[in-house]
């Protein structure tokens, strides 16, 4: 199918309103297969304005006698208004945008056509494979090995080709354990905490079912996890569902690990919100933030009603629990919910951020996102198909990744010096997860990415972000490496609404960007006087 079939009108005269702070733009509106452009005409001073159609979340059209108004609500929560001359033209453009922004095919999406200057294809795709993390683990302990049992994605379609597993368990046992876990997600290493000699392991739920089935290889695998840790280590299974929900899952073939079958492991239930309720909480929050008509006197009540901060609190405290289990109790932790692709990853990635100073560096955090979200099979395409404005009934959408970013932002707020990256990186990840010219967040798993040849035919977001010109926006000028664990306060009183994201397009020109720039200035000035290293360097974690 050609894009041109979907484009009814290519060109129209239009005025663009970009919210209260930016002046309106006038010019010629052009529609291409992937973009909406506004060219302000030859005499104008402003530059070409460009919008990736993929980032449009919903469209609203209104017509007057000889013009039409299109309201575009974007996935990054921006709201744009286009006033277009000609009723016919405006309706055509609206319909075209509608069709083009909701194309489902991956391989015709913009990343497959995006060829920015200065970047080479395949540059950063070998930046973060599991092999790389394994090298680090191997230096710390001998108890784990890299297995290629999933080489052809047949054992677990949502895992990468290589996973880290206990050395004493062979590939055959892994394959049998995989058959006992939903979606084949058998327990694999997520993080090795060297100071305590314990590990963080993740999986999906065991398929115990109503008959309370068992699987010897799965039990052996978890036994091997404990055996490989520090002597005498116990294990905790953090189930991200309520015990009620876990019990109910048995009726549909899922379930939990039976106590008797897994000696040394104890189960804890920490229910986290997921799926549709989480998406609804996100939608309500964005609605409340954008509702400028309502009396602001009841703002706090409304904010509370959205429950978003309560979800942040639950996610952070569950991550603290897992991290504490390892650091303080010297225990191994297995995290899973049902599928093991959402709240499970939320908990394991946050726990690492709390414990592991390397994951708080620019490169380390990118690696964490790559390893614990993208390669670990968080279904980005399904979860981020729509953002908070879509009128369509959500099917698989859920802002789990956004919740993760929010939690990271809260950590950064409470420990302003301990993260090497700043709010800028988190905002960029949010934007790119929902709509991006880069291929990094495409598809739902490594298997799909292989089928679509994402690695060879698109650019990686990481090489885009690691260009020197981006650094000032993304890095935290105050960063000072902190070798300690960072334990956040998870009380509601210590959590804040992430204004930089949720009020980003609503607030008046805030001085926060100005302040950020000034702090950079101060820091770089100081460093200049000290004649130290330039701040922009593509640092990589020390391995």
């Amino acid at each position: 199918m050609e894009f041109s079939d979907l484009i009814r009108t290519r060109r129209a005269q239009a005025k663009l309103l970009r919210g209260p702070e930016a002046p309106p733009l006038r010019g010629t509106l052009c529609l291409t297969g992937h973009h909406l452009l506004l060219s302000p005409g030859p005499q104008a001073t402003s530059e070409l304005w460009l919008l990736l159609l993929r980032s449009v979340d919903s469209i609203e059209k209104r017509v007057a006698s000889d013009s039409g108004t299109i309201t575009l609500r974007c996935k990054d929560l921006r709201v744009l208004q286009l006033e277009i001359e000609g009723v016919e033209a405006s309706l055509d453009i609206a319909r075209s945008i509608e069709a083009l922004s909701s194309l489902e095919s991956v391989i015709t999406s913009f990343p497959f056509f995006y060829r920015p200057k200065g970047l080479r294809l395949g540059d950063a795709w070998h930046f973060h494979p599991p092999e790389r993390y394994y090298k680090r683990v191997a230096r710390e302990t001998n108890a784990w090995r890299l297995s290629e049992v999933n080489e052809d994605f047949s054992v677990c379609p949502s895992y990468p080709r290589a996973v880290i597993v206990p050395r004493s368990v062979d590939d055959g046992a892994l394959a049998r354990s995989a058959r006992f876990r939903q979606g084949g997600r058998f327990p694999v290493l997520s993080y090795h905490h060297a100071p305590s000699g314990t590990v963080l392991v993740r999986s999906s739920q065991p398929l115990t079912g109503p008959q309370k089935r068992r699987c010897a290889e799965d039990e052996e695998l978890l036994r091997a996890v404990l055996a490989g840790a520090r002597p005498g280590a116990r294990g905790f299974i953090v189930d991200t569902r309520s015990s009620q929900a876990a019990k109910q899952a048995r009726m549909t073939g899922g379930g939990t690990e039976a106590k008797a079958a897994y000696p040394g492991w104890k189960r804890l239930h920490r229910p986290l919100e997921r799926g549709q309720p989480l998406q609804e909480s996100f939608v309500r929050l964005v609605e409340a933030c954008g509702d400028l008509q309502q009396s602001t006197d009841s703002w706090l009540r409304r904010l509370e009603g959205c429950c978003w901060l309560a979800h942040v609190k639950e996610a952070l405290s569950t991550a603290c629990l897992a991290a504490q289990g390892m650091e303080r109790e010297g225990a191994c932790i297995l995290v899973h919910g049902a599928e093991g692709t959402d709240s499970t990853l939320l908990v394991t990635s946050l726990a690492q951020l709390i414990l592991d100073p390397l994951s708080r560096t620019m490169a380390g955090f990118q690696e964490l996102v790559e390893r614990e979200w993208i390669q670990a099979g968080h279904p980005f395409q399904l979860r981020c198909a729509h953002s908070a404005f879509s009128h369509a009934r959500p099917k698989h959408e859920a802002p789990t990744f956004l919740l993760f970013l929010d939690c990271v932002w809260q950590l950064g707020r409470q420990f302003p010096l301990s993260l090497e990256f700043g709010e800028g990186l988190l905002l960029a990840l949010f934007e790119h997860a929902y709509a991006s010219p880069f291929g990094t967040f495409l598809c739902n798993s490594e298997r799909e990415r292989c089928l679509c040849e994402v690695r060879t035919r698109t650019h990686s977001l990481w090489s885009g972000l690691n260009q020197p010109k981006e650094q000032r926006k993304l890095r935290n000028p105050l960063y000072a490496p902190n070798p300690l664990a960072i334990w956040p306060s998870v009380e509601l009183q210590s959590l804040r609404l992430w204004q930089g994201l949720f009020l980003r397009w609503i607030r008046p020109p805030e001085p926060s960007e100005v302040a950020w720039e000034k702090v950079w200035q101060i820091v770089t000035d100081k460093e200049k006087t000290k004649l130290s290293q330039p701040t922009v360097s593509a640092s990589e974690p020390q391995l």
Binding site: P195, D297, W299, L300, L303, L309, Q493, Q499, E510
Partner: protein, 593 residues
């Protein structure tokens, strides 16, 4: 994780002073440190007259003190608002008998005592005497304090110098000494700035028409457009709608000091209805027909009683236990942030009128010493970057609050035992809260940090310094406060680095307009909930955090060095048993392992 273990003090060490009897030495008490439903602790309750202040303290063994700094209680007696006995001789059950101490800084402390002996009565008497010296004809602690600093804070504010900095006197404004002996207005400072064209007789006549003789005088003049902020009290209009030609003329003279403006803008800080109601008691506001060349706006800020009740509600939800389940809606129902919003909005309007509207502004409320002080000082902070430096802010407080007669003694109740006094109100605290909100929104605009603001608030109550004592300048002069007490600014200015914001970038002429929308205001957790250890250590000041981090690094290096030395020495001694890197940020999640 919170330890809730019981700690036994073996041989408590106590260094008593002759002032305080031996009962302290032998009294071993059960103390419930209620704040955060923490624990039952055995400790020694004592009081000491240390160099800096009389304070109530709990003497724990060092071992215990290092456990969690939140367990150390350090309460200057000036902070105490109320002391009550709880339980009686017949009370049964643990911790039902003792003392309950309400503090002005959002704390309540309960001490469970043993019923044997008469220790409680002694303790109650002594505490009462020293916490409320006024009722016992004892001097306030500031007069006993003999601290020495290498800077004298009393020299920070010199009105003549400050007005000269503003470019005064000039062709339109003069400095008058008419109030030198406080005979024109006993709650105003000795030195005032008034229009050049108004004679001293004019001023005297205007004074008869303004509540408590607080006539309109200049607070601040815009360096470029020469518009001014003028402050005063309400006009004495009364039920009959009295008029005063001199007052009307005087306001017109103020307007005419700047030729460009056709109307003088009057901001009445009160809600419209309150202003009307004030007529019944002889007050009122400037009516349109009497003041042709003025425009009046009401700013809807409520009175001291409303503010007091609002803060009381805040205390209810943060102490002793933080409201957990409906935190945000409980916070909303205190209306505290709404009041902050209204005060800030009012100040923004004043600043905007002067700066962009190029109109002179007159601000008053009823008496012109509470809301008026909030509005003028906040507007000045927005307009004039000088006041955003440490010394500039001290001058601002000294000028708009202390010298212009904000009734600190009545609002705070220094040394006074009448805790229910209707004159008490957290007006100054509210002002500092607004300043904090601004510093959050403009992180590089202020030379001072959060600690500076908290320190000011702590000493608002502590009575260690003379700075906030008494209601007005005349009373302070009578008591020779500057000679007999130390200024808070001495403490701060002799150790300025501690109070500096590392990101301060000086900008002249930048007007700051904070966003006063509820979406952008937040509860000042580090102040109001600072006694809660769950929140306390989680948000260390960046500077302090870096310090902690550096210390941790240093420890690590020392440890590594020791290990290397050990490894290097031929005789291998016992390996050092130093613990792995200690994490100073304690987690405060409940674990149920």
């Amino acid at each position: 994780m919170q330890k809730s273990e019981e700690v036994n003090l073996v041989n408590p060490v106590f260094t008593g002073t002759p002032e305080f009897p031996e009962w302290l030495l032998h009294q071993l008490l059960n103390i419930i440190h209620t704040p955060w439903r923490m624990s039952l602790l055995r400790g020694l309750l004592g009081m000491e007259l240390i160099e800096t202040s009389v304070r109530l303290f709990l003497d724990f063994q060092e071992k215990l003190a290092s456990l969690d700094s939140a367990l150390i209680l350090d309460v200057p007696l000036g902070v105490i608002s109320r002391i009550e006995k709880m339980g009686g001789a017949t009370s049964r059950g643990e911790n039902s008998y003792g003392l309950d101490i309400t503090c002005k800084d959002m704390r309540n402390l309960r001490f469970a005592l043993k019923q044997e002996g008469h220790s409680r009565r002694d303790m109650f008497d002594i505490l009462t005497r020293y916490a409320f010296p006024l009722a016992h004809s004892l001097p306030i602690f500031a007069f006993l304090n003999e601290e020495k600093f290498n800077v004298d804070g009393w020299t920070v504010y010199n009105p003549v110098e400050e007005y000269r900095r503003q470019g005064l006197p000039n062709h339109h404004w003069r400095i008058t000494f008419i109030n030198k002996c406080y005979e024109l207005c006993d709650t105003y400072p000795a030195l005032l700035v008034v229009p050049y064209r108004a004679s001293d007789d004019d001023l005297r006549r205007v004074a008869t028409f303004r509540s408590r003789n607080r006539i309109p005088v200049l607070s601040w003049i815009h360096p470029e457009n020469k518009t001014v902020i003028v402050r005063c009290s309400q006009p004495l209009v009364g039920m009959s709608g009295k008029r005063n030609k001199d007052d009307e003329k005087y306001l017109d003279v103020i307007r005419e000091t700047n030729r460009q403006i056709s109307k003088l803008t009057i901001y009445d800080a009160r809600p419209n209805v309150n202003a009307v109601a004030n007529k019944a008691t002889g007050g009122g506001y400037e009516s349109d027909d009497a003041y042709h060349n003025a425009e009046l706006f009401f700013l809807d800020i409520h009175n001291i009683h409303v503010m007091r009740e609002s803060l009381k509600k805040v205390k209810d939800i943060v102490y002793p236990n933080v409201e957990e389940s409906h935190w945000l809606s409980s916070l909303e129902s205190t209306h505290w942030l709404e009041h902050i919003k209204l005060v800030l909005t009012g100040a923004i309007q004043v600043a905007d009128k002067v700066s962009s509207g190029k109109s002179s502004v007159l601000v008053h409320c009823s008496d012109g010493w509470d809301r008026t002080a909030q509005l003028t000082s906040l507007a000045m902070l927005m307009l004039d970057s000088f006041y955003r430096s440490i010394e500039g802010f001290e001058i601002l407080v000294q000028k708009e609050w202390i010298s212009f007669g904000h009734k600190f003694a009545s609002r705070i109740g220094h040394g006074d035992k009448n805790h229910a006094d209707a004159d008490r109100s957290p007006i100054f605290l509210q002002f500092i809260d607004c300043v904090w909100q601004m510093s959050k929104q403009f992180p590089t605009a202020f030379e001072f940090n959060e600690r500076f603001l908290i320190t000011i608030l702590d000493h608002l109550y502590s009575c260690r310094f003379g700075t906030f004592l008494y209601n007005c300048e005349s009373a302070r002069e009578r008591q020779k406060v500057t000679e007999r007490t130390v200024s808070l600014w001495s403490l701060i200015n002799s150790n300025k680095d501690k109070f500096k914001n590392p990101f301060y970038t000086k900008e002249i002429n930048r007007v700051l307009y904070p966003v006063a929308s509820m979406r952008h205001l937040e509860l000042w957790v580090n102040y109001y909930i600072r006694w809660n250890p769950r929140i306390k250590q989680q948000q260390p000041n960046p500077v302090e955090q870096r310090y902690v981090e550096l210390l941790a690094l240093r420890d690590e290096y020392i440890q590594r060095l020791e290990e290397l030395q050990l490894a290097g020495s031929a005789k291998l001694a016992e390996p050092s048993t130093s613990p792995a890197s200690p994490s100073p940020m304690m987690p405060h999640v409940h674990t149920h392992f």
